[in-house]
């Protein structure tokens, strides 16, 4: 074994240090809060460890917050609704993003970079501003309704803002690039001669797409779907701005617990439960990636 140099140690340990400081430590703090009791004051929870006497530490663990999550249907509904909203949005992103990525990957090389830049162009504007802009488009006297009424197609404005529809639009619009980019990456490096070989063996182009292109792009489909699904589950800004008061999403519930109810322990429990819920798809993602890396050379 070669001795590992100090420089190499530094390079390896730096990202771990980062994760430790900005992920693990906050996670432990939140986890600790989730196991404590609410109280009035600052901070608004009972510390877990208390020095009762000089040498006696009182450790108080309260699992009641988690029990509460299970008891109150609000949380279960919010979780389920978040997941279904994220799943439907992911599917819509896939349906819109796949043809886009396919189209870009198959256009002339000189056009590809321009088209890719157009996909990423919205990132140059703040995410918040872009979501706000949708309010102007969707609201009752907004762009779409004014246009339709002006053309005489409708007399009453269609209510779009503060509906689930608006939330889907917001999520699909915001996360579409995260779907397109990994899909493009897998489609672009696909060997075109495979399709020629399929055609040569008597395979119609549509069938060749289904039997060759699509299966070989599955790593991109999985990566893109997880990149959309995971943040969409915990999304707060979009349902808060575009959704109605009855749009129940876990990000919004979390916000309400923290800032309106000031119930930090329950809010922390919500956050931890959500994290555990998302760890499963992340692990599936890593499994898929590992299989991809170990698969074709």
């Amino acid at each position: 074994m070669r001795p590992v140099s100090a420089g190499r140690w530094a390079v390896i340990s730096l990202p771990y240090l980062w994760l430790l400081l900005f992920f693990l430590v906050p996670f432990i703090i939140v986890f600790k809060i989730s196991l404590s009791d609410i109280r009035l004051g600052m901070p608004p929870y009972q510390p877990m460890l208390q020095w009762v006497e000089a040498q006696v530490v009182n450790i108080q663990v309260n699992l009641g917050n988690y029990a509460f999550l299970l008891e109150d249907p609000l949380y279960r509904n919010a979780y389920l609704h978040s997941i279904s909203t994220a799943a439907i949005s992911t599917l819509l992103c896939l349906l819109i993003g796949y043809p886009m990525a396919y189209g870009i990957a198959r256009t002339d090389k000189s056009w590809r970079n321009l088209l890719l830049m157009l996909v990423m162009l919205p990132f140059w504007t703040s995410f918040l501003l872009r979501v706000y802009a949708w309010i102007g488009i969707l609201k009752n006297n907004g762009l779409i309704n004014n246009l339709l009424m002006g053309m005489g197609l409708i007399d009453q404005p269609i209510v779009m803002l503060q509906t689930d529809f608006a939330v889907y639009i917001g999520i699909v619009y915001s996360y579409l690039p995260f779907m397109v980019l990994p899909l493009y990456a897998t489609l672009e490096k696909q060997d075109i001669t495979l399709l020629e070989a399929a055609a040569d063996l008597g395979c119609h182009p549509v069938r060749a797409f289904l039997t060759i292109t699509l299966p070989l792009s599955m790593p991109g489909v999985v990566a893109g779907s997880l990149l959309v699904f995971i943040p969409a589950v915990g999304e707060f800004v979009i349902p808060a701005l575009l959704g109605g008061p009855d749009t129940l999403m876990i990000g919004k519930v979390l916000w309400n617990e923290f800032f309106q109810n000031r119930d930090w322990p329950v809010a922390s429990a919500v956050a931890i439960a959500m994290l555990l819920l998302l760890v499963v798809p992340i692990m599936l993602f890593q499994l898929a990636q590992g299989r991809q890396a170990g698969g074709h050379p």
Partner: protein
Amino acid sequence: MAETRPDKKLEPWRDRDIQPYIRIERVTKNFGDFTAVDDVSLDIYRGEIFCLLGASGCGKTTLLRMLAGFEQPSSGRIAIDGADMAGIPPYRRPVNMMFQSYALFPHMTVAQNVAFGLKQDRLPKGEIRDRVAAMLELVKLTALGGRKPHQLSGGQRQRVALARSLVKQPKLLLLDEPLGALDRKLREHTQFELVNIQEKLGVTFVVVTHDQGEAMTLASRIGVMDHGEIIQVGTPSDIYEYPTTKFVADFVGSVNLFEGRLVEDEPDHVRVECPELGGCFYVDHGVSAPPAATVWVALRPEKVFISRESPGPGPDNQVPGIIKEIAYLGDLSVYLVQLPTGRMLRVTRPNVRRQDAAFDRLTWDEQVWLSWEASSPVVVTQ
């Protein structure tokens, strides 16, 4: 197979009654300003192994891709088995192709790759299974049917590609540099295997290759291409022994080329005066060229005799020289001999005798005589 017997059945191109299987008529293919294939006309007959031979970029692959249907001719006509192929997409052509990169489907096993073409025809499952098994046996891959392509060696992949392209029993198989990725031993072995399979199945092969050895071993006829044009078509021995142009003489095998002037032009012989040779070639065949025209004489290295003694009455077809370089290749030795004019001449001689200490070998800086028969040189006019 390298040597074609002079049997009419084996030389369908000599028989006027036989219809060609593939008819390429005045086909041109342009990519923008670049002309990849330039006014090519070619007839290929059933059961042939036809090799398109040329350097990379000469248009041979484009011609093959037009046969497969991946490219459409800019002008001209391609007919296969009497049917015009214009506008017929690749998946409706009675043609299969073996790709240079093999193009195996990476997400399918060997057996699934081979079965792919049969599945497109919606054949019954049992028949697909039987035919795949038979094909895998033919290419000796029965044991590896469950492997994925990335688990195979280069030679195994090549055999999967061959099996996949043959399983549909095509009348015409196109092979793009089929042996390019194999090492020399495996290559030689596979060349003979290909010829055996071709004879067993009676398929017409069109092979694209830049390797003249490969073309010589495989082909019933060779078409030499350069800059999008077909320069010469003929049997391997035609191409080698009677090249019609400098390019073909130089491209196929190695050759000594001399520029010269026709000084005697009779129907049964010509004499060509070559300043670089310092003498004349006497060639025992006629040449169709204007008197005193500039011509080139091609002389194959193995057709030159090398000896210490003067070969006898001259002065044509013999020249003295000094051995400058010797390359011992085992089966033969290559001598580079400097002529009095300063020109180097390449001579090869088979090592018939063991070159041990007792052998009185020719050595460096030795004075030798080079000579050749009047039938050996070939005169080309372009």
